[in-house]
C-alpha cells in the first residue's frame, strides 16, 4: 500500500537502526510524545533494534489518558438523563470514571453512541430535535479543528440541542511543563506528527531555544520513528539543539491554516487539568463566550463533581516518562486491559496498554 509499505520496509528500518548504532557514542534519553508513536515502537519492537544506550520514554500524548476524571464523570452523569444522547469517540467508552464508565452507563439504558467524527453528532442533533445531543470533545490539536467545526456548524444552523463537553489539550505547554520539572530526564523529543500537521512546526521553536533541547517532528510508521531517533541522536552527539521535521510528507512549517482559523474562531486558550499530571497553565482550549450556548459545562447544571483519586497506579510517572509501565507493581496483575486501573491501560494509544498487548512475553521472562 502506497505511503505505508515503504515506511514499514524492514530493510529500510534495519538500515536506519544500523546508522543509529554508528552515530551513538553515549546514552541518550528520548521521548516520543504521541501514544500512536509508542504503539508503533511496541508493535514493531523498535526498541529491540536500538543500541542499548538509547532509551525511549513514552510521553503524555494519549488523548484518552490525559482527559481529567471530572470530564469522564460529567459525561457519565449526563448520559443517563432521559433527553440526552451522549456521543463519543469509541476509545472513551471504557475509560473508568470514579464509579462507572460509559459502557456501563449504556448497558443501564443511557443513550451513548460512538462516532468517528463530531459532525456525525451534529447530524444526530439535527435528526433528533427533541433530544439534547452532547459530544464528548476531547483530544489534542488533532481533534480540535473537527470539534470546533461541529460547534461552528451547529451555531450556523441555529441548532439549540447540541453541545460539546470539552477537554482539549495542547502539546507545547506540556513539553514546557515536563522540561521545568526537577526530575526531567528527557534530552530530546519526537514531536507528534499529526498534531504538527494541524499546527505546523513553528510552535516548537521557542521550546528548542528556551531549553536547548532538540525536537524532531516525527511520523508514525517504523521508518519514521527510527529516522526521527537518528536525527535526534546526530544533533545530541554534535551538541546541537535544532527543530527538524522528519514528517515532511504531512507537516509544513505553517501547518493547516484554515484548521487553525476555525480553532481560533471557536476556542480560546485556557488553563487545563491533565489526568495523571495535574493542572498546566495555558495548556488547553475552552469554548469562547460566543459559543457559550454550545458548552455542555454551561448548558447543563452539573454542579461540582468532586473527584477522589486514590494513588493506586503510577500513571503520572508513566505519562511523564519517569517510569516504564512495567515498573508499576499493578501492571499485568491488578491492572489489565480487562480491568484497567489507569487510563494508560484503557486506550489503544496508552503506554500501559501498548506494553500489555505487545510485551507481556518480555515481562514474563
Amino acid at each position: 500500500m502506497k505511503y505505508l509499505d515503504e515506511y514499514r520496509d524492514h530493510r529500510i528500518a534495519k538500515g536506519l537502526a544500523a546508522e543509529i548504532r554508528q552515530a551513538t557514542t553515549r546514552p541518550w534519553v528520548l521521548m516520543e510524545i504521541c501514544g500512536g508513536q509508542t504503539h508503533t515502537v511496541m508493535r514493531y519492537g523498535l526498541d529491540e533494534l536500538l543500541p542499548r544506550g538509547i532509551e525511549l520514554v513514552h510521553g503524555p500524548g494519549c488523548p484518552v489518558c490525559v482527559t481529567p476524571l471530572e470530564t469522564v464523570d460529567k459525561a457519565i452523569a449526563l448520559a443517563p438523563q432521559p433527553d440526552v444522547i451522549l456521543v463519543s469517540y469509541g476509545d472513551m467508552l471504557r475509560v473508568p470514571g470514579s464509579h462507572s464508565d460509559l459502557f456501563r452507563a449504556k448497558a443501564q439504558g443511557a443513550d451513548v453512541r460512538i462516532a468517528y467524527s463530531p459532525t456525525e453528532a451534529v447530524k444526530i442533533a439535527r435528526s433528533n430535535p427533541d433530544r439534547k445531543v452532547v459530544f464528548l470533545a476531547i483530544g489534542f490539536e488533532t481533534t480540535a479543528p473537527a470539534n470546533a467545526m461541529a460547534a461552528w456548524q451547529a451555531k450556523r444552523e441555529g441548532l439549540t440541542n447540541f453541545s460539546l463537553l470539552v477537554s482539549q489539550v495542547l502539546v507545547p505547554p506540556a513539553i514546557r511543563a515536563l522540561m521545568v520539572t526537577s526530575t526531567n530526564r528527557v534530552q530530546g523529543f519526537i514531536a507528534p506528527g499529526h498534531v504538527c500537521t494541524v499546527m505546523g512546526c513553528k510552535e516548537y521553536e521557542s521550546l528548542v531555544r528556551d531549553f536547548h533541547v532538540p525536537i524532531v517532528v516525527g511520523g508514525f510508521e517504523p521508518a519514521d520513528i527510527l529516522e526521527a531517533v537518528l536525527m535526534l541522536v546526530r544533533q545530541l552527539e554534535a551538541g546541537e539543539a535544532r527543530l527538524q521535521n522528519q514528517y515532511v510528507r504531512s507537516v509544513s512549517y505553517q501547518g493547516n491554516v484554515p484548521a487553525q482559523q476555525i480553532m481560533a474562531e471557536v476556542f480560546e486558550v485556557a488553563d487545563q487539568k491533565w489526568r495523571g499530571i495535574g493542572s498546566i497553565p495555558q495548556s488547553g482550549l475552552r469554548l469562547r463566550e460566543e459559543y457559550a450556548a454550545y458548552d455542555a459545562d454551561r448548558v447543563f447544571d452539573l454542579g461540582v463533581i468532586s473527584v477522589d483519586e486514590p494513588a493506586e497506579c503510577i500513571s503520572a510517572l508513566v505519562l511523564q516518562g519517569l517510569k516504564k509501565p512495567t515498573d508499576c507493581p499493578a501492571f499485568g496483575m491488578k491492572c489489565t486491559s480487562e480491568n484497567p486501573l489507569g487510563a494508560p491501560m484503557v486506550s489503544s494509544e496508552g503506554a500501559c496498554a501498548a506494553y500489555y498487548h505487545y510485551r507481556r512475553h518480555a515481562v514474563a521472562e
Binding site: 500500500m1 524492514h10 534495519k14 508493535r43 514493531y44 519492537g45 523498535l46 533494534l49 488523548p63 484518552v64 476524571l69 469517540y89 469509541g90 476509545d91 467508552l93 473508568p96 470514579s98 464509579h99 462507572s100 464508565d101 459502557f103 456501563r104 448497558a107 453512541r113 460512538i114 468517528y116 483530544g139 514546557r176 511543563a177 521545568v180 520539572t181 528556551d210 531549553f211 517504523p222 495523571g276 499530571i277 495535574g278 493542572s279 498546566i280 495555558q282 477522589d308 483519586e309 493506586e312 500513571s315 503520572a316 510517572l317 511523564q320 486491559s337 480487562e338 480491568n339 486501573l341 489507569g342 489503544s348 494509544e349 500489555y356 498487548h357 505487545y358 507481556r360 512475553h361 514474563a364
Partner: protein, 355 residues
C-alpha cells in the same frame, strides 16, 4: 511564558478507582474476547457442568448408539441484516454448518428459529428466508424444523435468527482445541477480516465506499477434502467474532502451548488493510465467516495447504505459524522486523481510535 518565568508544575499522582463488581452485561460480553470467556466460565459452565460441554469446542460431540453425533447452536443478531456478500439468512446457515464442520462432522440437518420484531416488513423477511433456503440447498443441508416468535416493537432489533445443526463425526476423527502439540503447524485457509470490514462499512455513521464482500461461506466441503488427504489434523476453528487472534489464544490456552505467528505470511486483502488503517483496527481481531484455522501435525501441513488451495474457498491458504512449548497460553508474532510481540486476546470489542 518563558522557561525561566514558569513555575515548576506540581505533578500530582492521580489514578481512577477500580470499577465496581461486574454486575451488568456489557456489549463486550458478546465480543468473543476475554469478557465472553469469563461469562462462560463464571455463569454457564458451573450451571451446566458436564464433560461434553467442558471441552468448550464449537460443537458438542456425543455418543448415540455407537454413532458420534455433533450438535451445535448459534444465534445471529447481525446489523445491518443485508450486507455485501450475504445477509443474516445465509450467515445463519454458514455459521452453524461451519461450527459442525470444525469438529470434523458431516452436517446433516438444520433448524431455524426466527425472533421477529413487531412492524418488521414481511417482504424483507421473505428475502431473508429465501436466502437462508438457498444457502441450505447449496450446502446440501436441509432445514427440517423451526420456530417463530414475534416480540413487541422496541423489544427486538428487527430480526434475530437461531439455527441448530446436527451432524455425524466419521470414525477415526477426533478434533479438539486441546490437541495442539509443539511443532504443529498453524494453517489459515485465506485472507482475513473481509466479513468484519464489509459489515462495518455499512454501519450507521460510518458508511464508507468499498468493494469488500463478506467471506460468508459453508466450509464443510473444504473440511471433507482436507480430512480426506491427511489424518494429521489436530483441531480446526473458524475465526469468527474476535478474529484469528481470539481463536488462537483459545487454542493455546486449551492445549497449554505457545503459538508463534509469522506476520508476513498472514494473507490480507489490501482493501481490508486500508480500511483497518483508517479505522485504527487490527485485522487479527476482525471477524471472518468463511475461513478456518487448522492446527496440523508438521508432516501433514504441506499436503493440507496444497489440497486447500485447489478449492476456491482455500485458494489463499497459508501456513501462518508454529506451535511451541515456550509459554503456555501465549500467542506471539514474529514481525517483519525480526522482533517479537504478543498477540493478545481482547477484553471486549475493538474500539475505534480517536486519532
Amino acid at each position: 511564558m518563558s522557561a525561566k518565568a514558569s513555575a515548576e508544575i506540581n505533578f500530582e499522582l492521580s489514578c481512577p478507582a477500580p470499577l465496581p463488581a461486574k454486575d451488568t452485561i456489557l456489549l463486550g460480553h458478546g465480543s468473543g474476547g476475554k469478557l465472553s470467556a469469563e461469562l462462560i466460565r463464571d455463569v454457564f459452565l458451573p450451571a451446566f457442568q458436564n464433560p461434553v460441554l467442558e471441552r468448550l469446542d464449537d460443537q458438542a460431540i456425543v455418543n448415540v448408539n455407537g454413532q458420534r453425533l455433533a450438535i451445535t447452536t448459534d444465534s445471529f443478531v447481525v446489523q445491518p441484516l443485508f450486507f455485501p456478500g450475504g445477509n443474516i439468512g445465509s450467515l445463519a446457515v454458514h455459521g452453524t454448518i461451519n461450527d459442525l464442520a470444525m469438529g470434523g462432522a458431516t452436517p446433516l440437518f438444520l433448524s431455524a428459529a426466527f425472533i421477529i420484531e413487531e412492524g418488521f416488513s414481511i417482504d424483507e423477511l421473505r428475502r431473508v428466508v429465501n436466502s437462508l433456503r438457498q444457502a441450505a440447498a447449496d450446502a446440501g443441508v436441509p432445514v427440517v424444523t423451526g420456530d417463530t416468535k414475534v416480540v413487541e416493537k422496541g423489544k427486538g432489533d428487527g430480526l434475530f435468527i437461531n439455527t441448530t445443526g446436527i451432524g455425524l463425526v466419521p470414525e477415526g476423527i477426533d478434533l479438539s482445541a486441546d490437541r495442539a502439540c509443539a511443532g504443529d503447524k498453524v494453517i489459515l485457509s485465506g485472507a482475513i477480516g473481509d466479513h468484519g470490514i464489509a459489515i462495518l462499512a455499512q454501519r450507521d455513521g460510518l458508511e464508507f465506499e468499498t468493494q469488500i464482500q463478506s467471506d460468508s461461506a459453508a466450509l464443510h466441503t473444504l473440511v471433507a477434502e482436507i480430512m480426506g488427504v491427511s489424518s494429521g489434523i489436530r483441531c480446526m476453528r473458524d475465526p469468527t467474532r474476535g478474529g484469528v487472534s481470539s481463536t488462537l489464544n483459545e487454542i493455546a490456552e486449551r492445549s497449554q502451548v505457545g503459538i508463534e505467528l509469522e506476520e508476513t505470511s498472514i494473507p490480507i486483502q489490501d482493501q481490508v488493510r486500508g480500511a483497518c488503517e483508517l479505522l485504527g483496527l487490527d485485522p487479527l481481531y476482525v471477524a471472518n465467516e468463511g475461513k478456518l484455522i487448522a492446527i496440523v501435525a508438521p508432516g501433514a501441513a504441506d499436503a493440507i495447504v496444497e489440497t486447500m488451495r485447489r478449492n476456491p474457498l482455500g485458494r489463499e491458504a497459508q501456513i501462518i505459524g508454529t506451535v511451541n512449548n515456550d509459554r503456555a497460553g501465549l500467542v506471539t508474532m514474529r514481525t517483519a522486523f525480526g522482533t517479537t510481540r504478543v498477540v493478545d486476546m481482547l477484553a471486549g470489542d475493538q474500539l475505534p481510535r480517536i486519532c
